[in-house]
Symmetry: C2
Subunit: 196 residues, 2 copies
């Protein structure tokens, strides 16, 4: 895709939540970080979504569409296929609502048998959530010692790999996601801990 130096990318992560928040419609912050490539942080937004709810896709679309950074953003990266527990992100809908390529990333290969069990135990609409999570082909991204796993829409596989590599500074997680994780964690806990 020949990324311009200083291309803008948006990384989204959620804050940690306690299991007490489950089933009580607890809220958890989600944080978006806009960076130029891997080097320069340009802006941050903070919103919140419902733990195990259904509002993540539309909340994220709304934040993107209202953001003054929108016209500059080349792609949206999300840490995981769901935020706030099983608040599943429908990347097709997010792509349609925003017009932007959307990529979800995970450190571990999703185990859909385990996910199905967990969804069945907690949700009447488990089939619907599982179908959204299963949709789109999983690709592995050869970054660092450990690969990352990605699903994407609105962007070619080769471009996903190029974009992730160009936005990663250390380790294998793109800088915008690493910082989104730190901010979301600090909002919930007072001080940030752990890796995205």
């Amino acid at each position: 895709m020949m990324l311009k130096k200083g291309f803008r990318i948006l990384g989204i992560d959620d804050g940690p939540f306690t299991f007490q928040a489950r089933g009580r419609l607890g809220k958890v912050p989600i944080v978006g970080v806009v960076m130029r490539g891997k080097d320069y942080l340009e802006g941050i937004w903070v919103s919140e979504i419902t733990v195990d709810g259904n509002d993540a896709t539309d909340k994220i679309a709304e934040m993107i569409n209202n953001s003054r950074f929108k016209s500059h953003i080349r792609a949206v990266l999300i840490n995981g296929g769901a935020v706030g527990g099983f608040n599943v992100i429908d990347i097709s809908s997010l792509h349609k609502q925003t017009g932007l390529p959307v990529i979800t990333l995970t450190r571990h290969k999703p185990d859909f048998d385990d996910i199905e069990k967990a969804l069945k135990a907690h949700f009447k609409d488990w089939k619907k959530r599982l179908a959204v999570l299963r949709r789109h082909r999983l690709i592995s991204i050869p970054t660092g010692r450990n690969p990352l796993y990605a699903k994407s829409t609105g962007i070619k596989k080769q471009d996903v790999i190029e974009m992730i590599c160009a936005s990663t500074k250390r380790g294998n997680m793109p800088e915008c996601l690493r910082i989104a994780h730190i901010v979301a964690s600090a909002i919930v806990r007072g001080e940030s801990y752990g890796n995205a």
Copy 2:
């Protein structure tokens, strides 16, 4: 002082607040950002202080002393001599409580006549707040097109200048303060605006 490459620095800024919060003991977030020099964000903490209160110095000291980053931090930078309106920071006390060099920075040369008027109009203890703000010598830092103004304790003037220059990426504000401003602004407003 011969800063090691990758020296750690902590930058602190407060979030914006409305004038309605004045006199009602409203709270405003303060955000600390730990960076290695100007390039790598390592951690963030979030706390809150009282608008126009007296708790900023002790709250900041507590956050620093409880932080897992403390032993790595070489200096504390604060955006302005007060946070949350006139919640004045006593840098001598902060230095004594934490053992770390403390530097406050402002873009504009403080006008102590104006500050005195504002303090007199709002605070019974205006003399005490003014005395803390006046304490320590103001130095100008020759960065970029516009100088910055600094007060400091526990560190030599020449080292203040070296440290600020080594932790600034673009413009004249150290990167840890620029990012602390963005995070604090996003927590209050949902999306970050403006410059530190």
